[in-house]
């Protein structure tokens, strides 16, 4: 053992050095880089500094997901520019309107594997830690530089160890773990460190649940977030790729600047109140809050099991508030169609939209009116996030969101399900 964290190992691998320590500034050559509806803006920066050809187009992915199908002519023009650029540059992995949200699609396609490094021009790129990869969000200028040079400067981060013990109680989900971490440690708790998870809870979480936690570590201020990959991950990947990989694990004597342990076995459902994702309370303290709209979707909370949990709550009932369902990908939507989950949701009164980010950052498909409250499975409830400043947003797990849609106010899911 030599005391390396996961981040130190992964970044050493991706920069071709034999060993790296926190604080070292390295030139990282990522295995995959991706962008989304911001690709046209990145192209403008790229051409602006004299870029001509993307150096490694086979290591580039582009998804159209943030405003799909295009809600306005301007958005459509943006998509058209991106399609032309993808063709001109021979970009290796392009996903059209309707395929789904970047993080979900790239995972489903097996484009990123344990130990690999992925940079995306999207803050939720921390997501890919669920596969044991190093995922980090970058800015548009950085993405343009990556297109041109294939590499990016990076100071190897310090690391923080989070240990999750126990099995979640019925009615709680990975979302509650993420919200509880934010509640205890705040939005700036990560201090741009590598957040590395340990503990027996991880193996109890399904493939749909696991991404929620690394994804929401973006809200925690993490550079990346890492789950140690286990047999379940290897099995998930077998069906999706034949590329070889060697998973990386931190050494037992790795140095962690900070540590935090959570016993999840007595965790109550958590609710983030307006207007910060760390303004979190036990569900008890949010009960009775009127809501006009409920939203199940996003890269955080729009996978199959999220939809299935919602269906379990609303099956055979009629919703009182609006309920918007946006599957995170076409695969999710197809499966929910085949199993009858979507039918249950539609019969209860839900409306279904094209896989993508939907109203999460205020583009379209469910912008609230002034003073209308939304409860969402998404990751952010900042003031104005969904497009309207005076429209409060609450964040919760899919059971709570669906149950609240049935009652028109925030309620205990078991009261609806009985």
């Amino acid at each position: 053992m030599t005391g390396f964290t996961f981040a130190e190992k992964a970044l050493a691998r991706a920069s071709g050095v034999s060993g790296a320590r926190a604080g070292d500034v390295l030139d990282i050559r990522p295995d995959l880089i991706f962008s989304h509806d911001n690709t046209a803006a990145i192209r403008k920066i790229f051409l602006g500094f004299g870029g001509k050809n993307i150096l490694h187009p086979n290591r580039v992915a582009v998804t159209l997901d943030h405003a799909v199908p295009a809600p306005t002519t301007l958005h459509a023009q943006n998509h058209a520019e991106i399609r032309a650029w993808v063709q001109e540059q021979g970009i290796g992995h392009f996903f059209e309107v309707g395929r789904g949200i970047c993080h979900q699609v790239i995972s489903e396609e097996g484009l990123i594997l344990p130990s690999e490094v992925i940079f995306g021009s999207d803050s939720h790129t921390t997501h890919f830690g669920w596969l044991g990869a190093f995922g980090m969000g970058v800015g548009r200028t950085e993405m343009a530089a990556l297109w041109a040079t294939g590499e990016l400067w990076l100071a190897v981060p310090q690391a923080m160890k989070i240990t999750l013990n126990g099995k979640l109680p019925i009615g709680t989900t990975a979302k509650d773990i993420a919200l509880r971490i934010l509640r205890d440690l705040t939005l700036h708790g990560a201090q741009y460190r590598s957040i590395e998870f340990f503990g027996d809870t991880i193996s109890t979480l399904s493939m749909d649940e696991r991404p929620v936690i690394p994804n929401m570590m973006a809200e925690f201020g993490a550079m990346n977030a890492y789950f140690p990959p286990d047999e379940a991950i290897f099995t998930y990947l077998v069906q999706r790729t034949s590329r070889p990989y060697i998973p990386l694990y931190p050494d037992a004597d790795a140095h962690y600047e900070a540590e935090y342990t959570l016993d999840v076995s007595s965790l109550a459902p958590q609710v983030a109140m307006p207007h910060e994702p760390d303004n979190v309370v036990d569900l008890d303290h949010a009960i009775g809050t009127p809501i006009q709209q409920a939203f199940i979707g996003t890269c955080t909370g729009g996978r199959y099991e999220d939809l299935a949990m919602a269906a379990d709550v609303v099956r055979g009932k009629k919703i009182r508030s609006r309920l918007i369902i946006i599957p995170a990908s076409a695969d999710v939507m197809l499966r929910a169609t085949q199993t009858g989950v979507l039918a249950d949701l539609i019969m209860a009164g839900a409306s279904i939209a094209t896989p993508g980010c939907g109203p999460c950052m205020g583009n379209h498909l469910g912008i609230p009116a002034t003073d209308e409250a939304t409860i969402s499975t998404g990751s952010r409830n900042f003031k104005g996030r969904m497009g309207t400043t005076d429209a409060p947003v609450y964040l919760a797990n899919p059971y709570v969101v669906a149950a609240s849609a049935v009652c028109g106010e925030i309620v205990y899911p078991n009261e609806v399900m009985e």
């Binding site: 943030h66 800015g139 950085e142 041109a148 939005l187 201090q191 583009n363 003031k383």
Partner: protein
Amino acid sequence: MSEHRCFAYGDNINTDLIFAGKYTYTLRTPEEISAHALEDLDPTFAQTVQKGDVIVAGRNWGNGSSREQGVTCLKWSGVNIIIAESFSGLYFRNCINLGVHPIVCAGLSSKVKTGDVIRIEGGYIYHNGDSYPIPSLSPSVQAILDAKGLAPMLASRFSDKG
């Protein structure tokens, strides 16, 4: 030596408040983008900001989305220095890469009010008789800032290649 008028803000100001997500794929020009700077936080900012003004903020300035307009909306408003108790990591990187100097400064934000003037001289910030050191950056990071950002740095690299 330079003097700068301050806009003072609190803790955890996120990029949705700095530049709202609903504008990210439709507004493109510097004029359009700067016109909406800090719209949901301080509606008077875009009208009153002048070239050379600085932001002085609390902890975790720029958390949330990676959108670069969170930096460019201020840069194109004339702000080239942002001072905060701490920055989100992504926002800090975006500042460097866009040639805006992010200064981590403990203690200043609780003293400064909007409209105050600070002086920057010889690696220190001066305000009301107090001085605050400006942390140095690593050489590779300072080189990007000196080039006024990653894009100008790459432009000169590409033109050097002929």
